[in-house]
Symmetry: C2
Subunit: 143 residues, 2 copies
DNA sequence: GATAGATATGATTCATTTTATCCTATTTGA
DNA sequence: TCAAATAGGATAAAATGAATCATATCTATC
C-alpha cells in the first residue's frame, strides 16, 4: 500500500522542473543526476507526465523536459495519478466484481471515505505550495 | 497502492467471526467457504490475527478460530495492520534513508498528513459498527 | 491409549507487478 | 550532414504477493 518508485520519481522530476520554472528545459541526464533517478526510467516517466499535459518533451540537441503548466496548477494528486493511475485503496472499489458482496457493503463505505480523503489531501497540495517553504529541494536554488 | 488480498481476507474473516460472536468457534473450512478465501491461505492469516491478539486458534477436531476480543474493540486499522504491517504511503516515511533529502521535506509532510488521516479513518471503524448497519455480510445472519 | 479430524509451520511454487535496461528509430540544433 | 538528445517497443531482472505442499502437532472422542 505504498507509492511506487515511479510515482516518487515523478514527484521529484516535477519538483525539479517547477524550480526551473515554466518553459525552461532541463535535460534528462541533468534531472536524473540531480534527483537520483535512473535516466532511462525517467524517460518513461516523462512520457506519462507529457501525456498528462504537465510537461513538454524536446528532442534533439539541447533537448529535455520543460514544464508547461504553472506550478500553482500542478497538484501532487495529478502528478502521482498521471504515473500510477487513479488511486484506489482496495480492489472492491476498483473492481466491484472482484468481491461477491454487494456495493452496499459497509466496509466498502469506509474505504471509499478513506480514498476520498487521501485524494483530497493530495489534490490540495500544489507544487507551488511545496516550493514555498524551505524544503529539501531548495538544494536546487543553489544552481 | 492497494490493500493486499491478505488484508482483504483478514477483514472478511473477522467479519465472520464477529458475526459468530466472542468465544464461538468457526472452522477454517467453514470460514473459507463462506467468505471465499483459500483455506490454506486463511490459515496463515489466522496466525497473524492470533499473534495480534484478536483470535484464538483451536486445534484438533471441532477446532477452528474464535474471536477473543469484543467487536467494539476491533478496529479496521488493527486488523489490516495485523496482516500487512503498519501502513505507510511512501518509502520516505518508512525508510527516511531511502531518500537523500532531509526529513524537513515538504513533500514528506503531505504524505505524513495523508497517512495520519487514513489510519485515523480506519481506526475509527470498529467491527461492531460495521455490523450494525445492514451490509453485504448480513448474509451470515441467515445461519 | 489409539485414531481421526483439525490446525501449525516451514518450504516452495506460481503469478503479478515493478523496476530497470537494451536497442533501434526519430528528432533537431549547429 | 552530423552529433546530441529523446522516443518507444521489447525484454530482462527483481521484488512482492498469492497460493499450495508436505510434514508436524494437537485434541476430542471412542
Amino acid at each position: 500500500m505504498r507509492l511506487t518508485r515511479a510515482g516518487e520519481y515523478a514527484v521529484r522530476c516535477m519538483m525539479y522542473l517547477c524550480c526551473l520554472g515554466v518553459g525552461n528545459t532541463g535535460s534528462r541526464k541533468e534531472i536524473a543526476q540531480a534527483m537520483d533517478i535512473p535516466a532511462q526510467f525517467l524517460g518513461k516517466i516523462a512520457q506519462q507526465l507529457a501525456r498528462a499535459g504537465y510537461i513538454e518533451i524536446v528532442q534533439g540537441p539541447k533537448g529535455g523536459f520543460r514544464l508547461i503548466v504553472p506550478p500553482e496548477e500542478v497538484t501532487l494528486l495529478g502528478v502521482v495519478e498521471a504515473v500510477i493511475g487513479e488511486i484506489y485503496l482496495n480492489d472492491c472499489l476498483m473492481r466491484p466484481e472482484s468481491c461477491f458482496r454487494s456495493p452496499t457493503c459497509t466496509v466498502y463505505g469506509v474505504w471509499e471515505t478513506a480514498r476520498r480523503q487521501l485524494r483530497q489531501t493530495l489534490e490540495q497540495t500544489t507544487f507551488a505550495g511545496l516550493l514555498e517553504e524551505p524544503s529539501c529541494f531548495t538544494i536546487l536554488d543553489e544552481n
